[in-house]
Symmetry: C2
Subunit: 199 residues, 2 copies
C-alpha cells in the first residue's frame, strides 16, 4: 500500500524541509525530477554533493565561499574602510545585486534573540569588534533588517562599538523606489515623513 519506493519517500521528506516547499509541492518536484532523471536529477545531485563538501564560511566575514577567504575579502579594491554589517548571506547577496556598495561585509549569522537564546557570542559580534580594530575601518554601516530583532541587534552593536570611535550609520528608511503610498504601511510613511528632505 506504500505509494512510492522507500528511497523516493525519503527524498520527498527531505525536499519538503526546504522553505517554499510543503509535502505536496515536494512530491510534485520529485515527480518532475523522476521524469527528467538525466537532465535535472542527476546533475542536481552531483552539484549538491559538491557544494555540501566545498562550501564554507569565509574566515573573515562569514560569507559563503569555497576558499579560506571569500571573493570580496580577497578583492583588495574593496578595502575601502567601509564595513557593512548584515544578518545573513541572503542580505549580502541582495546588497551585491544592488551593486551600490564597494566596501566589505560582516555577516552576523542571525540576530540577537532572547526567545531563541541567541547571545552576542552565538553571532559574529566579537569578531566584528576585532575587525574594526584591525582593518582600519572608518565607517560601520548597520544594514540589519527593519524588524524588532534586527533593530535590537543594531543597537547592541552600536553600544559595543562606541568605544572604538568608528563612525556608525544605518540604511535610510522611506518609500521604496516605485512604491505607492496607498500600499505602504503607516510605519514606513511616518519614517519617510520624519526623514523628509528638501526637494
Amino acid at each position: 500500500m506504500a505509494e512510492a519506493p522507500g528511497d523516493i519517500e525519503q527524498l520527498i521528506d527531505l525536499m519538503a524541509r526546504l522553505p517554499g516547499l510543503g509535502p505536496r509541492s515536494a512530491r510534485r518536484a520529485v515527480l518532475l525530477m523522476l521524469k527528467k532523471r538525466g537532465a535535472v536529477m542527476a546533475p542536481l545531485a552531483t552539484v549538491m554533493a559538491q557544494v555540501a563538501v566545498s562550501a564554507r564560511d569565509c574566515a573573515r566575514c562569514g560569507n559563503i565561499t569555497n576558499s579560506e577567504l571569500c571573493e570580496i575579502c580577497r578583492d583588495e579594491r574593496r578595502a575601502t574602510g567601509e564595513l557593512c554589517v548584515v544578518e545573513d548571506v541572503a542580505d549580502l547577496w541582495a546588497l551585491e545585486r544592488g551593486g551600490a556598495f564597494k566596501g566589505r561585509y560582516h555577516v552576523l549569522g542571525g540576530t540577537l534573540s532572547a526567545l531563541d537564546a541567541v547571545g552576542p557570542d552565538e553571532l559574529r559580534i566579537p569578531r566584528l569588534v576585532e575587525r574594526v580594530a584591525e582593518e582600519g575601518i572608518t565607517e560601520v554601516i548597520l544594514a540589519l533588517n527593519a524588524t524588532v530583532d534586527g533593530q535590537t541587534t543594531a543597537h547592541y552593536i552600536a553600544d559595543v562599538l562606541t568605544a572604538s570611535g568608528v563612525s556608525l550609520t544605518s540604511l535610510a528608511q522611506g518609500v521604496p523606489i516605485g512604491g505607492e503610498l496607498d500600499y505602504l504601511d503607516d510605519g514606513t510613511i511616518g519614517a519617510a515623513l520624519r526623514a523628509r528632505k528638501r526637494f
Copy 2:
C-alpha cells in the same frame, strides 16, 4: 561582483527548474541547505543520487519502482481483473492515498495532444491493449483528468478497446466531499445535477 561561488549559482539554477520554485525561492532553499549542510544538504544529495540511479519505470504498468515490476504489479492479491488507467504516476499515488482501489494500474505517461505532437505511440496505449488481452482484464477504469486532453485520450482509448469486449468505466463526476456549491464551477454543478441519484 559575483554574488555566490560558481557551483552555488549552478545549484540555484538547477533548483529553480523544479515546479513551485522560482529563482528567488530557489536561492532561499539553497541558503537554508548551506546553513544545514550536515542535516539537510548532504543527505538530500545522497538520496537524490541514489534515486537517480535506482528509479525506473515498471515494465508492466509504468509506475515508478526500483525493480523490474512495481510493488503493485508484484502483489498477486491485486490481480483482480480491474485495470485503472491514469495519466501520470502522480495520479496513481493520489488513488493509492485514497486506498479505495484494489486492482492494478496502467500509467499512460501523459495525454494525447495534437499541439505537443503526442500520439498513441508516445504513450503506453499499445501496451494497454496488449495487457487487456493478456491479463484477463474484465474492467478498464478510465481515471483520466477531467480536462480536454484527458477526456480526448479517454475517448481514444475507449475506441481502441471496444473490440476487446472489456467493460469500460470512468470516475463519477459531481460535488467533492466537503465541497460547497457556492464555490463550485458551473460545469461541475451541471454534471452533478445530470448524474443525480435517489436520496
